[in-house]
């Protein structure tokens, strides 16, 4: 089918999906923490937008709440917190040298293809938009993991983690018109707690190794040196 035949909502969703995927790529290639956080916030904003759109088109009101939640948590609270951390640690100047960045990018691209390939069997049971949405969200997830694997800063890890969450949200909203309310709330609560815990952990890690480089957390290894 052709994109013209789709209704406005779907078109919006598709373009948003594309944008979300793009933000993930931007994050993946990003060496500077502050920009990373900013892009993450943008992703959150796009997510909130999607949620709102879904809520509007489906006139499914509890989605507004989760949109609001997303806005508060992922666009304001968490980025702010991370930003504070970065500034406090004054890591905002130094650039993390990413090992063979291009390879990572190519990997990301291939991941996107991969997720399309994986989810293809589903397509005959559902509309193309579903497939796109799911594929994008899956690839956002995978890209998030790739981000965590390729970055050494704890902050980057948190961002990756949260972007994985974003991917999940996107899937939940687009593919299934929002999970049941309880689940939504529960997930949001978990995210909140997680955010708080991250804050605490930055403290602890700093006090123990006064840096946020996770490669220095390698005491508990069993490779005999």
């Amino acid at each position: 089918m052709n994109i013209e035949q789709l209704d406005f909502y779907t078109q919006a969703i598709l373009s948003l999906a594309a944008l979300v995927g793009l933000t993930s790529f931007l994050m993946l290639g990003q060496g500077r923490l502050l920009r990373l956080i900013f892009v993450f916030a943008v992703q959150g904003f796009l997510l909130a937008l999607t949620t709102a759109a879904a809520a509007y088109s489906l006139s499914n009101y509890h989605l507004y709440i989760s949109a609001a939640l997303t806005l508060v948590l992922k666009v304001i609270l968490i980025p702010w917190m991370l930003r504070r951390q970065v500034l406090k640690m004054n890591m905002h100047r130094d650039v993390e040298a990413l090992s063979n960045n291009t390879a990572v990018m190519l990997g990301g691209a291939s991941l996107m293809l991969f997720s399309y390939y994986i989810l293809h069997p589903i397509v005959q049971t559902s509309s193309l938009v579903m497939l796109n949405a799911l594929a994008v969200s899956l690839s956002v997830m995978l890209l998030g993991m790739l981000l965590m694997i390729s970055h050494r800063q704890a902050v980057a890890h948190v961002v990756g983690f949260m972007s994985i969450e974003n991917g999940l949200f996107f899937a939940a909203i687009v593919a299934t018109h929002g999970m049941p309310m309880v689940v939504e709330l529960g997930v949001a609560f978990d995210v909140l707690v997680a955010a708080v815990l991250f804050g605490i952990f930055f403290l602890h890690i700093r006090t123990s190794i006064d840096s946020l480089d996770v490669d220095l957390l390698n005491r508990l290894s069993e490779v005999d040196k």
């Binding site: 991969f114 390939y117 995978l142 993991m145 790739l146 965590m148 694997i149 390729s150 996770v214 390698n218």
Partner: protein, 694 residues
């Protein structure tokens, strides 16, 4: 009724765990503690009482076991029952037939002897270092486990009883755990027991996967293809052979048996190995059903190798109990070899000759239980009096411990299969079986079996040499150390009564083997459906296993003849008073000045064998000379170090150990400690999984 006797035996052995525990409880619980009247003398009495209670119960259980065994052997019926434990859909199945009965008898006799012996022996352990409660607890469990193995009639119950036996005996091996060697031995023992048990489970599993359910009846019904049957047989041989200590999987045995308290070593070596053989017999002759001659051949070869290897290794030991343990390997080898013979005959559909071999094997198992117990208890007595187990430190004990000497001598004579003693009869039967090879068509077997027989002869001769050496160095000559010189005769009558019982039985069944063989014949009838060839006679006087024309042996007549001959010359030669014996100092070709250090030591005695069979061992022999003088011309002192090792260590065990450690090190690499790697794992796993299922 008979089953009740068997149950009583089991329950009593369980009960024997309790008294010391109760005593402990009395100590620990303050309420009762207040009632306890003070004074170490009271403590003494309490301890003695507990000891007697424990061993009394054990003795009773032994008595009941022997009774149950005899009565089932006589009545020849099969009793079945069930105990309301186990899996919800399968309570423990119990079956008590002649085979079990025979081994019940063996265990019963052994336990009775041990329970006579025990109280005196364990009094040497001081409570604080080696608590008696532990010893008695695990001895009770150990014995109960063995009895239950014999009663079990389903794979699950069998394995539980089997492992109970293993684990309990493991704790007994580790009883004196303050000695590192004991700990190592215990670990090795438990490891081997575990591996063996796993093999057995797998063997049962093979049968069970063809049968419905895993009661023995169902397993008997399992129709196996030859290939699967052979796999099951191989697994069973590995599993039970490990427990029975067949070469090359015997290594745990000489490590573990000696370090346990002597009466336990006696049980382990004399009885537990028999239980393993019971398992093998039950599995091959009963569960699998029809046997193949190839299996028999395997058994025969393995048995021969174990017999020769066992005795050859035994000869080189200087630790008395290690030596006895190795000789157990030898005897088990003989038994397995004869079982193999019987299997061959069965498979060549000569059931009667098969029965003959079966008879020989079981009778040797019975005899070995008797004299090996006797010898281990004797070793215990020697250790008890001299606190020494190194043969080369002994000597002249026969003057200091005459009764012990007598008993030990009987043990040595039986185990080196001299006529008039039981060991000889079973080996004689084994030879008779081997000589029936003519009836077999298969040329390979016809030529291999006699060779095996000759190997058996060699084994017997080596055993004789080995035990001449042991008895000679231990009891004869001059004492080689202060311990040996200071040794006293055993005071405690019980400690003498136990071995005396066994010695008496050795002699009794040496003279009247017919009594026992008649009973064992029932086992063959019930299990193989075949008994001795017709025309054979097992009368009290004559023993003609095949037929009177082929061979016959009449121990009573021999005894009478010997007495007559000896009596005559004794009477005749000592008639004149002029020729009474005169005691004088040793002549020694007139050299004189004889000192204990001049005598032959055990390693010296074995030197010719060491040279002749040099390839069998890993020998590390070093002679160091301290020279002195201007040109180092004269030797001040000579140091001689001899280190003899078993081949199977470097060949079999260390490679496996190394392999495991190497793999573990490789695997350890994945725990890098870097979280990004871990995330990588998770990521890759996800990708791969998705790719797999799509």
């Amino acid at each position: 009724m008979i089953l009740v006797l068997a149950y009583c035996a089991v329950l009593l052995s369980f009960a024997s765990c309790l008294p010391p525990l109760l005593m402990q409880g009395r100590h620990n619980l303050p309420a009762l503690g207040r009632l306890r009247m003070p004074g170490s003398l009271e403590e003494q009495r309490a301890q003695i009482l507990t000891r007697q209670a424990v061993f009394g119960l054990l003795g009773l259980s032994g008595l009941f076991a022997a009774l149950a065994g005899v009565s089932v052997l006589v009545s020849g019926e099969v009793m079945t029952g069930r105990i309301g434990l186990g899996l919800p859909w399968l309570p423990w199945q119990v079956r008590f037939d002649n085979l079990s009965g025979l081994f019940f008898l063996i265990i019963g006799i052994a336990i009775s002897a041990v329970s006579l012996y025990g109280p005196g022996y364990v009094s040497a352990y001081e409570e604080s270092k080696h608590p008696f409660a532990v010893l008695s607890l695990f001895s009770g469990l150990f014995i109960a486990g063995m009895l239950l193995v014999l009663l079990a009639d389903d794979a699950f119950f069998f394995m539980i009883a089997w492992e109970l036996m293993s684990v309990a005996s493991y704790f007994l091996v580790a009883f004196q755990h303050d000695n590192p060697a004991n700990r190592r031995a215990a670990f090795l023992y438990l490891l081997m027991a575990e591996i063996g048990a796993l093999a057995i489970i797998l063997a049962f599993g093979v049968l069970a996967s063809f049968a419905d359910g895993f009661t023995f009846d169902a397993l008997r019904g399992a129709g196996l293809s030859n290939a699967w049957a052979s796999i099951a047989f191989a697994l069973a041989l590995l599993g039970f052979g490990m427990k029975a200590g067949l070469v090359p999987v015997h290594v745990w045995l000489p490590e573990a048996h000696p370090v346990a308290p002597s009466h336990i070593s006696a049980l382990m070596s004399g009885v537990m190995l028999k239980v393993a053989l019971y398992g093998l017999i039950r599995f091959c002759f009963d569960l699998i059903g029809e046997v193949h001659w190839q299996w028999g051949l395997v058994l025969m070869i393995v048995g021969t190798v174990s017999a020769l290897g066992g005795i050859l290794y035994a000869m080189m030991q200087t630790n008395l109990k290690r030596m006895l343990a190795y000789s157990s390997v030898e005897n088990v080898g003989i038994i397995v070899m004869v079982l193999g013979l019987s299997m061959i005959f069965m498979a060549q559909n000569q059931p009667q000759l098969g029965a003959l071999g079966f008879l020989a094997a079981l009778f040797h198992a019975f005899n070995h239980a008797l004299f090996k117990n006797l010898l281990f208890l004797g070793a215990g007595m020697i250790h008890h009096q001299t606190h020494e187990l190194n043969i080369d430190q002994m000597g002249g004990l026969i003057k200091r411990m005459p009764k012990t000497g007598m008993l030990f001598l009987i043990g040595c004579m039986s185990i080196s299969s001299l006529p008039l003693f039981n060991g000889f009869v079973s080996e004689w039967l084994a030879f008779q079986t081997a000589l029936q090879v003519d009836v077999i068509d298969n040329g390979v077997l016809r030529s291999l079996i006699p060779v095996a027989a000759a190997a058996l002869a060699l084994t017997a001769a080596l055993a004789a040499a080995c035990f001449v050496n042991v008895f000679g160095i231990l009891f004869l000559g001059l004492p080689r150390s202060r311990h040996a010189d200071k040794a006293q005769e055993i005071a405690d009558p019980g400690m003498l009564a136990g071995p005396a019982l066994l010695a008496g039985l050795c002699f009794l069944f040496g003279i009247f083997p017919g009594l026992m063989l008649g009973l064992i014949n029932h086992v063959a009838e019930q299990l193989l459906g075949a008994s001795l060839p017709d025309g054979s006679s097992l009368s009290w006087l004559h023993l003609a296993p095949v037929s009177a024309e082929q061979a016959s042996y009449s121990a009573p007549l021999v005894l009478v003849g010997a007495l007559i001959a000896a009596g005559i010359c004794f009477r005749y030669l000592r008639r004149s008073p002029a020729t009474v014996m005169r005691r004088a100092e040793t002549w020694d070709c007139g050299f004189g000045g004889l000192t204990p250090r001049m005598q032959y030591s055990a390693s010296a005695f074995m030197m010719p064998f060491r040279r002749i069979f040099a390839r069998v061992w890993l020998i590390d022999e070093q002679v160091k000379k301290d020279r002195q003088g201007a040109m180092d011309q004269d030797v001040a002192a000579i140091h001689y170090a001899l280190q003899i090792q078993d081949h199977s260590w470097p060949r079999l065990y260390q490679p496996i150990e190394r392999a495991v450690n190497r793999t573990a090190r490789l695997v350890g690499r994945i725990q890098t400690g870097n979280i990004r790697t871990y995330l990588g794992y998770s990521f890759v796993t996800l990708i791969v999984m998705l790719w797999i299922i799509s």
